[in-house]
């Protein structure tokens, strides 16, 4: 229900409820000016409020009643049963109308005649005042009696006399169910917040008690504490419920917005809302209101086609925007979908490259789903022209930022010609959340922190031999987790701001930050626990690493980490969102990619720098590739590499992996690692629609660095196969390889040996 309308109903309802009593009291004691003033005020504000909503029937009733009362106040009318009665019937009618509005969300339609009998009787009374007669009650009663009498007894006669005074719904509502007013109480948000705080305290004390009792062998308090535990949990849940609001509250403005948009954009739009009753914490509700509005505007403006276009495509001329909300797995899912033109993945892909959001290689490597989600990147807008509705420079990136602020995530799915769906997932509440309690060594002291479970994907125990292990590359760590490389963040380094010796023990918490996953190394994992999020003061709030603080069972205060802040701080998020503040490792650059991304110079990509030197010759320039493009790093025995017709393959995980030297030369010339092994960087991606794996043979992994995104063209390099650009890395010219080129070569090679498979024409070359 429109919240403004809701307020109106509650306020007017409260006002009207007092009127009966007050009017009757006034009748009994006309000298009570104070009472009369209250009555007049109620009518007056009612009149005003009805004017705002254009509830003309109510406005008229209130207006005339007020006139009568003013006449009484001025002494122009006697206060008598006959003069007061019409006012009471007006009050009754107003109440019926309020009840009807509650049901219908609008004033019951009417031609204005329904209330005439009441209005006439009121006006008749007024005429007495106009005539200036103010003697005894006799002259009053005579003219008034006839028109008033049929209306006076409220219920049946009036209903039959006036044709359908209000819609039948109203009648049903008054008799069958309690009105909104009777079932709900208005309670200040501050009181709710205080309740929430107190429950938070209680939960903490409960936790403390539970700990105490658990440590005691036998305690007379066990059953009592358990009882307390139960009650506390119940109370906590109930108080949380008071903070819950139906998500429909965040939607209430949308029908109006869509209605107005129809005219502006010249489209016909139906808005379907499902699951409006799904409840959500009001704090989160507030946070998602604007993003939702934005998504709907976007759908109306960009998503849906014009009626002509739709007709041509054989779709109904009216477009549909569907809002759907439901609860699943402790989260609220909200979908905003349209049945419009959908998004052209290829157009997004091109645009992404044009805008410098992704490199040419990434463009080919990324899945359609990943490409579509580029629309959430800052600076992306596919609309050809800026329109009044949604092209104001704020894009979907702000939607994502705002959703992520409350621990949510957003993704987009689209099918060309069929429609687009934006799916938002948000936590139910932010006040009490399950969290992982972890330890990080800062200097000699181990400090305790909480990480909200919502962000945690999995926990990995680190061992030096395990399959999931940490690769140490010149001080930068990556976690090899089931064939993927994850950037690894050392929590204690981020917190202390100092480098720490590489440690291959402890735990890695894999966290989700937007679409990216990052491993966070901690020294200890203690526990999972429901924690009460306590907001931190303004001085601490400025630090992006913390989401708040909490008090543990033993009374200790610990900080709750803001996972995205920590990841951002580490620069572990490659490109796009990560404006790394770490300046020290920046490199100068000169490279070629695209023109129009000058403004994005501050954004960083994490590069893997390696060399591929030939034995017994001078060192060649190092090469680099974006770490995000690397699927795996392997070390293999050179003997395992075999020659095929046009190149080399490696028996790898049960299949053949095409491998090559960056310069295309023979494998045998490559400088091996001191242990006789050879390094392989494995890439996988799509080339011409086929999934391709390819390995690049390298002699040495040199470093991992953060470098600004490739940005400027360098003509001399254009056309050189396999090179995407070059930059200066730590004083040395470094070529950034073009992964796409190697994927295409791998594809050619793979196609060859695929056809030869079974003939076993592989010969050893080493």
């Amino acid at each position: 229900m429109d919240d403004l309308l809701g307020e109106f109903l509650v306020e007017c309802g409260e006002g009207l409820a007092t009127l009966d009593e007050r009017i009757v009291a006034y009748e009994g004691n006309p000298s009570d000016a104070e009472n009369l003033n209250v009555i007049l005020r109620v009518f007056h504000s009612l009149k005003g409020a009805c004017g705002i909503f254009s509830f003309s029937r109510m406005e008229r009733l209130a207006h005339v009643s007020e006139d009568v009362l003013v006449a009484m106040r001025d002494g122009r009318l006697p206060v008598a049963q006959a003069t007061v009665a019409p006012i009471l019937s007006a009050v009754d009618r107003l109440k019926e109308l309020i009840a009807a509005i509650e049901q219908l969300k609008s004033e019951p339609a009417g031609n204005g005649r329904e209330d005439d009998s009441i209005i006439i009787s009121l006006k008749d009374v007024l005429e007495l005042a106009g005539g200036g007669s103010s003697h005894s009650s006799t002259p009053v009663r005579v003219p008034v009696e006839s028109p008033v009498a049929p209306v006076q007894p409220k219920s049946k006669p009036s209903a039959s006399e006036a044709p359908a005074p209000v819609a039948p719904v109203a009648q049903a509502s008054t008799s069958n169910q309690l009105s909104l007013m009777d079932q709900s109480l208005r309670v200040g948000v501050d009181i709710l917040d205080r309740l929430m705080n107190l429950v938070g305290e209680l939960v903490l004390s409960r936790n403390q008690l539970l700990q105490l009792v658990a440590s005691a062998e036998t305690s007379p308090f066990i059953s009592l504490v358990q009882q307390l535990n139960r009650v506390t949990s119940g109370l906590q849940e109930a108080v949380m419920r008071t903070r819950m609001q139906p998500i429909g509250n965040a939607w209430s403005k949308l029908p109006r917005i869509v209605r107005d948009l129809q005219g502006t954009v010249g489209k016909e739009i139906d808005l379907v809302m499902q699951g409006a009753e799904t409840e959500i914490d009001r704090q989160i509700l507030q946070a998602i209101q604007d993003p939702l509005t934005h998504c709907v505007r976007n759908a109306a403006d960009h998503g849906l086609e014009s009626p002509q276009d739709r007709q041509e495509m054989g779709k109904p001329t009216r477009g549909t925007i569907t809002l759907r909300a439901f609860q699943e797995g402790g989260r609220i899912h909200i979908e905003v979908s349209d049945d419009g033109r959908g998004m052209d993945v290829e157009a997004v892909r091109r645009k992404g490259v044009e805008k410098g959001l992704i490199s040419q290689e990434q463009a080919t490597r990324l899945s359609d789903g990943d490409i579509l989600n580029l629309v959430f990147e800052p600076g992306f807008s596919t609309a050809k022209k800026v329109t009044e509705i949604s092209g104001r420079g704020v894009g979907l990136d702000v939607v994502r930022t705002n959703i992520e602020k409350v621990g949510g995530s957003v993704e987009l799915k689209s099918e060309l010609g069929v429609g687009t769906t934006i799916r938002i997932r948000i936590p139910l509440t932010l006040a009490i959340v399950p969290a992982l309690i972890v330890g990080a060594k800062l200097g000699a002291v181990q400090e305790t922190y909480a990480i909200p479970q919502l962000a945690v994907v999995e926990l990995v125990r680190m061992t030096s031999e395990g399959r999931d292990r940490v690769e140490k590359l010149q001080g930068t760590q990556v976690l090899r987790l089931r064939d993927r490389l994850l950037p690894l963040v050392e929590l204690s380094e981020i917190l202390s701001g100092e480098k720490r010796e590489v440690c291959d023990e402890g735990f890695v918490i894999v966290v989700q930050v937007g679409e990216a996953r990052v491993g966070m190394r901690v020294d200890e994992i203690f526990d999972t626990q429901e924690i009460v999020v306590k907001p931190v003061g303004r001085l601490v709030r400025e630090i992006p690493l913390y989401a708040g603080s909490t008090i543990l069972g033993d009374g200790r205060v610990i900080m709750i980490l803001e996972v995205s802040g920590v990841a951002m701080q580490s620069g572990a998020l490659s490109s796009g969102k990560s404006a790394s503040t770490e300046k020290s490792r920046q490199v100068e650059l000169s490279s070629h990619a695209s023109d129009d991304s000058e403004g994005r110079g501050a954004e960083m990509t994490r590069l893997l720098v390696f060399s591929s030197d030939v034995r017994e010759s001078a060192k060649t320039a190092p090469l680099a590739v974006a770490l995000g493009q690397v699927a795996r790093l392997e070390e293999v025995d050179p003997e395992k590499i075999e020659r095929v017709e046009d190149g080399f393959v490696l028996q790898y995980r049960g299949s053949l992996l095409p491998v090559m030297r960056p310069d295309g030369g023979p494998v045998s010339d490559l400088r091996f690692k001191p242990d006789g092994k050879i390094g392989v960087i494995v890439f996988n991606g799509k080339h011409e629609g086929a999934q391709v794996n390819v390995g690049l043979l390298v002699s040495e992994i040199i470093d991992i660095i953060d470098a600004p995104n490739l940005a400027r063209k360098e003509s001399s390099l254009r056309g050189k196969s396999g090179v995407a650009g070059s930059m200066i890395v730590q004083g040395r010219a470094t070529e950034v390889i073009d992964v796409e080129y190697y994927l295409s070569r791998g594809r050619a090679l793979g196609a060859n040996f695929e056809s030869e498979r079974g003939v076993s024409s592989l010969q050893e070359v080493l």
Binding site: E201, L204, D290, P291, H294, V394, V398, V399, T401, N402, L442, E447, L495, S496, G497, K534, V536, G537, R538, L539, V540, E542, I543, P544, L545, Y546, S549, I551, G555, R556, V557, I558, M559, Q569, A579, T581
Partner: protein, 161 residues
């Protein structure tokens, strides 16, 4: 809420006196909620060095500020048992960590004057004035300005729709 205005009541002002090193400071009683002995503090990495940490005051989180560090006082005099002066500012609780807390001093209005111009700038910024008392000169700390400090890391302008 302790501005220069409110510290100069008609009938003088009352100060909670405390010591940092050898210097006596005062803070208007009106802004002080309570004084508590040293508490375990939770460190806040990457915060302003003067942010001593958070403490748990009967379930409420209080931001503690190390006044010594805030006022750059490096007197060698030790602080065996620091005290917390809990103040409330704009609805939030803060604790000022000081070396020791003394009596409440009543200062007749005539004894209160502006800070001398040659006071070091670091003190100039956070002191509302000076009181001449028998105990010596008492520097009156302005709570609001004491609480204005930066962070090692701070959020860059937040996004709003």
């Amino acid at each position: 809420m302790t501005t220069r205005e409110s510290t100069q009541g008609k009938d003088g002002l009352e100060l909670v006196s405390f010591r940092l090193g050898t210097q006596i400071f005062g803070i208007p009683v009106s802004g002080v909620q309570e004084v508590v002995p040293a508490q375990p503090l939770t460190r806040i990495p990457r915060a302003d060095p003067a942010l001593a940490g958070l403490l748990n005051l009967r379930g409420q989180i209080v931001t503690a500020i190390d006044l010594r560090s805030r006022l750059h006082i490096s007197d060698s005099d030790g602080r065996e048992s620091p005290m917390n002066i809990v103040v409330s500012d704009r609805g939030e609780l803060f604790s000022l960590v000081v070396d020791s807390v003394g009596d409440v001093l009543s200062v007749p209005s005539g004894r209160f004057e502006g800070t001398p111009g040659n006071l070091p700038e670091r003190l100039q910024k956070v002191c509302g004035g000076v009181c001449r008392l028998e105990e010596g000169l008492v520097l009156v700390v302005d709570v609001t300005s004491v609480l204005e400090l930066g962070a090692d890391l701070s959020r860059q302008g937040s996004n709003a729709l």
